[in-house]
């Protein structure tokens, strides 16, 4: 498999009046063509920041301090306006956590989809007619299994349910051909039966179109059922990565272990006490491994030097923890 | 016990420090604060700081009439030779007194009626209070104030009454909106189900959360009340000559335009500066509370 997206040593800070938040602390990860990748971590660990950095849609107070993002041999961070627009129109698409906020409240759904179709369509030379755009919009709405697509096109977003709105977002992002879909907590705001349907729909579409996907979630189960490979993130670092089954059955990093143990199981076998403490203060993050204040195994070196994400042998399992990398 | 007290003090000081930080982030807020402080100082100390304290009243000094701004009379003199600078500074006194009196009269009924209507949202109490308030808002404030002032005898005192009578519903509305939004907050529901009395909920739980918007509005309103008061005087329905009221001075100076422009222009600029100062200050205070709420 060829790598599609490669993020290397990405550092991103946010300027605030209290000081600089050093959020991303050297993030590394790769997505191959046709690969389904999951990204897990609790709120505030930098998942969304990473994704927005990839699309170059970071907030205005964000500073990219270092690192490279390569998408198909081109440097995302060095792209000019035109290349960037091209990438957003033709190659990468993003779905947001809250479909209510992601759809402009004062335009009809049909209007919103039409704009995407109009500007992202490959047929740049020929002008798209209104009817053509409408047929194409109806087509994608049918593809995301929305009942009564005609009525949906003429509705405002707030007249539809949360599940339908998220389907519309998916439809918009897949209205034209793309290669990579970034889904940022796409089902967090949805009910469990709707979540199930949306996840299945996304998986199905991604597989049928041979897309790559990055699925971000703090709900570990949703990731497990959808992706091939999982990255775990903590406080701006990738701390562990492995094939999905391997990661869930044999977590190595103390944080991943703690996280998995605190999830209640359907088997009713109970859950742990959770992980004590909070995500660190990003203005003065701990030196060395950022998990050290909450880690029960912390050693001297953990307070001095940041561990690298390195292979521990089997099944592509990588972990960034001094327990596994003796110096 | 001593340790506990010091913790309280530290946290209170930290709170003030954070508030000050948010306020002072914008230099304009500081400018507003300085203007407001200077205005209040000038108003209080007017008789001691102006060059011709007696010119506040009906004094004639015909030999110096219509003098343009110069070294003796910094802002020039008016049609009967009074010092425009001295009268303008005295004008601060009337303007700020008007604002102080009107706001003192208006805030208690406005805030309390808004709290009650908002807390009893959806009941007849809400309907009664808010419909009455709506009636006062059904015409532009200045028009109603002019009419009320006209029915009374024109004077500074009656102008204050007129402005107060139409000003309270704006507080009712503001507090009503905040209160009815807070009514659904879980902490209010929690207080209600634990058995706290409506009095405790309204004044103990809800009111502290309304203070931010109220304080902001009070500050901004100082400017607006002064504006309205000067407009009344300008028309002739407020303070009467020879009272050194800024609006009255602008109006009477208008007769000598454009040759003796300074008679109107300096009081006019003074009005603008006071309003600007309190507007900037109000925005600064809003910044504190908007960020606090986040």
């Amino acid at each position: 498999m060829k790598p599609l997206l490669d993020v290397k040593d990405l550092y991103v800070n946010y300027k605030t009046y209290m000081g600089e938040l050093k959020v991303l602390n050297g993030v590394n990860f790769t997505v191959h063509e046709g690969e389904k990748v999951g990204l897990i971590g609790e709120s505030g660990c930098g998942k969304t920041t990473t994704m927005r950095a990839i699309l170059r849609t970071l907030a205005s107070n964000a500073l990219v301090k270092g690192g490279d993002i390569t998408f198909r041999n081109s440097e995302v961070l060095k792209m000019d306006k035109k290349e960037l627009t091209e990438m957003r129109r033709k190659h990468i698409t993003m779905i947001f956590q809250d479909p209510t906020a992601a759809l402009n409240p004062v335009f009809k759904v049909g209007d919103l989809i039409a704009d995407v179709v109009r500007f992202s369509s490959n047929s740049n030379t020929e002008k798209l007619t209104k009817e053509k755009i409408r047929t194409q919009s109806l087509g994608v709405l049918k593809e995301v299994a929305l009942p009564d697509p005609e009525r949906v096109l003429d509705s405002y977003p707030f007249q539809l349910s949360g599940g339908m709105r998220q389907r519309i977002c998916i439809a918009m992002s897949l209205a034209t051909a793309r290669e990579l879909m970034i889904a940022d907590e796409p089902t967090t705001n949805l009910d469990v039966t709707i979540q199930d349907q949306v996840l299945r729909l996304m998986k199905d579409l991604v597989e049928r179109r041979r897309l790559s996907i990055i699925l971000i979630s703090h709900a570990l189960g949703t990731v497990r059922g959808t992706v091939d490979k999982v990255y775990a993130m903590y406080a701006g670092n990738m701390i562990e990565s492995a094939d999905t089954e391997e990661l869930f059955s044999n977590p190595l990093h103390p944080y991943t272990q703690g996280l998995l143990k605190s999830v209640p199981k359907l088997t009713g076998t109970g859950f742990s006490e959770g992980i004590t403490g909070r995500i660190p203060d990003y203005i003065n993050p701990p030196l060395g491994c950022r998990f050290n204040p909450r880690c029960t195994h912390a050693m001297d070196i953990c307070f001095k030097e940041k561990p690298q994400l390195l292979n521990v042998g089997k099944s592509n399992h990588k972990v960034a923890c001094w327990l596994y990398h003796r110096r | 016990m001593q340790i506990k007290e010091s913790i309280v003090k530290i946290s209170a000081r930290y709170d003030l420090k954070r508030k000050w930080y948010r306020f002072s982030k914008s230099p304009l807020s500081i400018v507003g604060l300085i203007i407001a402080v200077i205005s209040v100082f000038l108003a209080l100390a007017a008789p001691y700081v102006v060059p011709y304290p007696t010119h506040a009243g009906l004094v004639t000094n015909f030999k110096d009439k219509f003098l343009p701004p110069g070294s003796t009379y910094l802002f020039g003199t008016d049609e009967i030779g009074r010092d425009v600078l001295s009268r303008t500074v005295f004008g601060f006194q009337y303007s700020l007194m008007m604002a102080a009196v009107v706001l003192t009269l208006v805030i208690p009924p406005g805030v309390i009626s808004g709290l009650i209507a908002g807390y009893y949202r959806g009941t007849w109490i809400d309907t009664l209070i808010m419909r009455i308030a709506d009636v006062f808002i059904a015409v532009p404030p200045l028009v109603l104030a002019l009419s009320i002032a006209a029915v009374l005898t024109p004077s500074v005192f009656n102008a204050m009454m007129a402005v107060s009578l139409m000003w309270w519903p704006w507080y009712t509305r503001l507090v009503y909106n905040t209160t009815s939004a807070l009514r659904n907050e879980y902490f209010v529901q929690a207080a209600e189900v634990m058995g706290a009395s409506p009095f405790r909920i309204i004044f103990g739980e809800i009111l502290p959360n309304c203070l931010g918007p109220i304080l902001t509005k009070i500050t901004l309103d100082v400017g607006w009340v002064i504006l309205l008061g000067s407009a009344l005087s300008f028309v002739g329905l407020g303070a009467q000559p020879p009272t050194p009221d800024l609006g009255t001075m602008v109006a009477s100076g208008g007769n000598f335009m454009p040759d003796a422009w300074w008679i109107s222009m300096f009081p006019a600029i003074a009005i603008c500066i006071i309003i600007l100062g309190f507007n900037l200050l109000g925005d600064g205070i809003r910044d504190i509370f908007v960020e606090e709420a986040r």
């Binding site: 849609t57 907030a59 906020a101 707030f158 | 000067s230 603008c272």
Partner: protein, 341 residues
């Protein structure tokens, strides 16, 4: 809810407020200290004259009876008789109101166009120099009362630079066209008198600017803040991340939701225009409603004052309904959103 139902609801609400307003001003005029008959007759009139006047004005009857009589007349278009102008108040209103309205309408046009242009420029270039300039201007602009603005404009542009006429409505030598609508600008057009039309517009520029300047700058700031705030919304992020052109994102996705708050406060803007017209018309000696208003107010003509407040209330109410409909048109959430307990 359908738009028509919405309008109907708003209208019912407004009519209710107007009834309340009529009671309020009527009662105030009679409860506040002072004997209306004595005031009308003048301080030196003999007691018999005052007594006769009192009977003529029905001031000897109980208050509810007076109110009922008055309301019946108002509903028939009869606002009463002015003791100052010595004629029917309805006739006075019809003569002076249109000239004020034409001034207000021009000011409103200036205000809407100006605030939109400045607001969008500031929002587009937020935190850059055009934005800083607009914000600074807005801080200063809203602190200048309309009558002060009028004096400043007059001093600068008519006394000093002599670009615009200082006062009045028509230049000397230009006859007023025959009265049809009451508005001089309209009447000029009707009569085909373009010289008069241009002349009256020329006279209206400064008063209209003085009227609208504060509101214009304030609205510009509202539009600007709306745009700056909405720039961080997910829907803008989504539009950007899908590669829509900046133009579309800025002028379609960002602009429409951002102007709604400015349109919402337009009711208050209209209130300000109507009230400020009273002051600005004095400065420019514009023969409008304020001339009538100030005259009856200074002479304590209660009937006329009550009538004027009510007329202004009605115009304001109509303007507010129009604003509400505009907001509902722009914001589908207001039109169609479910409302419940």
């Amino acid at each position: 809810m359908r738009l028509s139902t919405y309008i109907l609801k708003r209208t019912a609400f407004v009519i209710f407020s107007l009834i309340g307003l009529s009671v309020l001003v009527f009662v105030l005029a009679r409860v506040l200290p002072g004997d209306p008959a004595r005031m009308a007759a003048g301080p030196r009139a003999p007691e018999e004259v005052v007594e006769a006047l009192r009977r003529q004005l029905r001031l000897d009857k109980p208050m509810y009876e007076q109110y009922f009589y008055w309301v019946t007349n108002v509903l028939h278009g009869d606002l009463g008789y002015s003791l100052v102008t010595r004629r029917s108040i309805t006739a006075d209103v019809l003569e002076y109101l249109p000239t004020s309205l034409e001034l207000i309408v021009l000011a409103a046009i200036f205000e809407i166009a100006g605030s939109f242009i400045l607001g969008v420029i500031a929002g587009r270039y937020s935190y850059k120099w055009p934005d800083n300039l607009v914000r600074l201007a807005s801080y200063i602009g809203i602190s200048i009362p309309a009558f002060v603005m009028a004096i400043i404009l007059q001093l600068l542009f008519s006394w000093t630079f002599k670009i615009f006429p200082t006062t009045g409505m028509l230049s000397q030598g230009i006859e007023r066209p025959p009265v049809v609508s009451g508005s001089v600008a309209l009447d000029s057009l009707i009569a085909g008198r373009f010289d008069a039309f241009v002349d009256v517009l020329w006279h209206m520029v400064l008063p209209a600017l003085a009227l609208c300047m504060g509101g214009l700058l304030q609205d510009a700031r509202i539009i600007r803040s709306g745009m700056v705030e909405n720039k961080d919304k997910d829907y803008i992020l989504m539009a950007t991340s899908q590669g829509l052109p900046d133009r579309t994102v800025m002028f379609k996705y960002l602009l429409k939701p951002s102007v709604i708050p400015a349109v919402t406060v337009m009711g208050l803007d209209i209130a300000a225009l109507m009230a400020n017209a009273f002051l600005v018309e004095i400065v420019f000696s514009w023969p409008g409603f304020s001339k009538l208003g100030i005259t009856v107010m200074l002479n304590k003509d209660l009937n006329a004052i009550v009538a004027l407040v009510l007329v202004i209330g009605v115009i304001y109410a109509i303007a507010n309904i129009v604003v509400d409909v505009m907001v509902a048109y722009l914001d589908p959430r207001i039109r169609l959103m479910e409302r419940g307990e």
